[in-house]
């Protein structure tokens, strides 16, 4: 129950810190949102991407180099 008070006093009490919270939160949100959505997309397309099937051909390439 003390968490709300701490957050309120630290971030929301003044307009200046409130706006800073929103802007900084925007950066964090964008990062998290983009990464999260990329992960979701890669999970839905598991096995279809080059990164997922690369190892099959990388061995061949190594052998060819040898």
């Amino acid at each position: 129950m003390n968490l709300g008070r701490t957050i309120y006093n630290a971030l929301f009490r003044r307009t200046s810190t409130f706006v800073v919270t929103i802007v900084v939160g925007g950066f964090i949100f964008e990062r998290v949102f983009d990464e999260g959505m990329d992960n979701v997309w890669e999970n839905m397309n598991r096995g279809k991407l080059w990164n997922h099937i690369k190892h099959r051909y990388a061995e061949d390439a190594d052998e060819a180099d040898e």
Partner: protein, 255 residues
């Protein structure tokens, strides 16, 4: 209960105004002030030292204010009871005697919601602006073309289909502004290499555009065909062909 009393010094014994509190459904007549007449002794007629000395103010000067005008009767609504909001209140704020412990947390939650909306709004706004601005930037194919440079000028390398080659070779050379045969402009039939600078005023033409499917200069509307020859618009000359050789099937050297 409301009452007022107007007091003027000297007459306070005689003049009192008071109103009576009345519930509104018992509207009574307002209290009436009954004027009292007082006989004031007439001033002395003769102006003697004694009589005049009586007119001189003695002692401290006193200023008084008077309440002028009608007093009003107010009918307060004592029959209206205070509404009970307790059914709308949360458990933690029901008892006014207990300090409200959850208020700060509820306020923090409200502001958190507002901040969340703000963050979403900032994110959406940023993406709208970025999307809008990115429509103004050069597209990927233009950028890729512009990356190939030769002596500081953009170099256009284009693979032509057999149909395109046939088209440009069937054009009557004499009808062109800058008569030049297509065979003289290419080393291999299917590869066209020209310098991407418009011969009019030096803009960079756009590939795969214009009426002849070759290049189109957006500055003043010069149309070039698939051989890089000027066909329409203000440009006087064909696009310049640099010197180049093919070392082997996959390698070309310009210059």
């Amino acid at each position: 209960m409301f009452s007022s009393k107007c007091i003027s010094p000297g007459f306070s014994r005689y003049l009192t105004a008071s109103t009576t509190h009345l519930a509104h459904y018992l509207k009574g007549a307002p209290a009436v002030v009954i004027p009292t007449v007082e006989t004031v002794p007439s001033p002395p007629e003769s102006f003697t030292n004694l009589s005049m000395s009586k007119l001189i103010p003695k002692g401290n000067l006193v200023a008084t204010t008077k309440h002028i005008g009608n007093t009003q009767v107010r009918f307060s609504h004592t029959d209206v009871s205070m509404p009970d909001f307790s059914s709308y209140r949360r458990q933690s704020s029901l008892d006014p005697n207990i300090p409200n412990s959850t208020e700060i947390n509820r306020r923090a939650f409200t502001y958190l919601m507002v901040a969340g909306m703000g963050i979403t709004g900032v994110h959406i706004g940023k993406n709208v602006v970025v999307d809008f601005l990115s429509t103004m930037s050069a597209s990927a194919d233009v950028l890729a073309l512009a990356k190939i440079e030769w002596r500081g000028k953009p170099l256009f390398v284009r693979r032509r289909s057999a149909d395109e080659v046939e088209d440009v070779r069937n054009v009557d050379t004499a009808s062109l502004r800058d008569p030049e045969d297509d065979q003289a402009r290419v080393v291999k039939d299917d590869w066209l290499v020209v310098i991407g600078v418009c011969t009019h005023l030096g803009c960079v033409p756009i590939a795969n555009a214009g009426e002849f499917g070759g290049y189109y200069c957006p500055c003043h509307g010069s149309h070039y065909d698939v051989s890089g020859r000027i066909r329409k618009g203000p440009a006087p000359l064909n696009l310049e062909v640099p010197e180049y050789t093919f070392l082997d099937e996959n390698t070309m050297v310009v210059g």
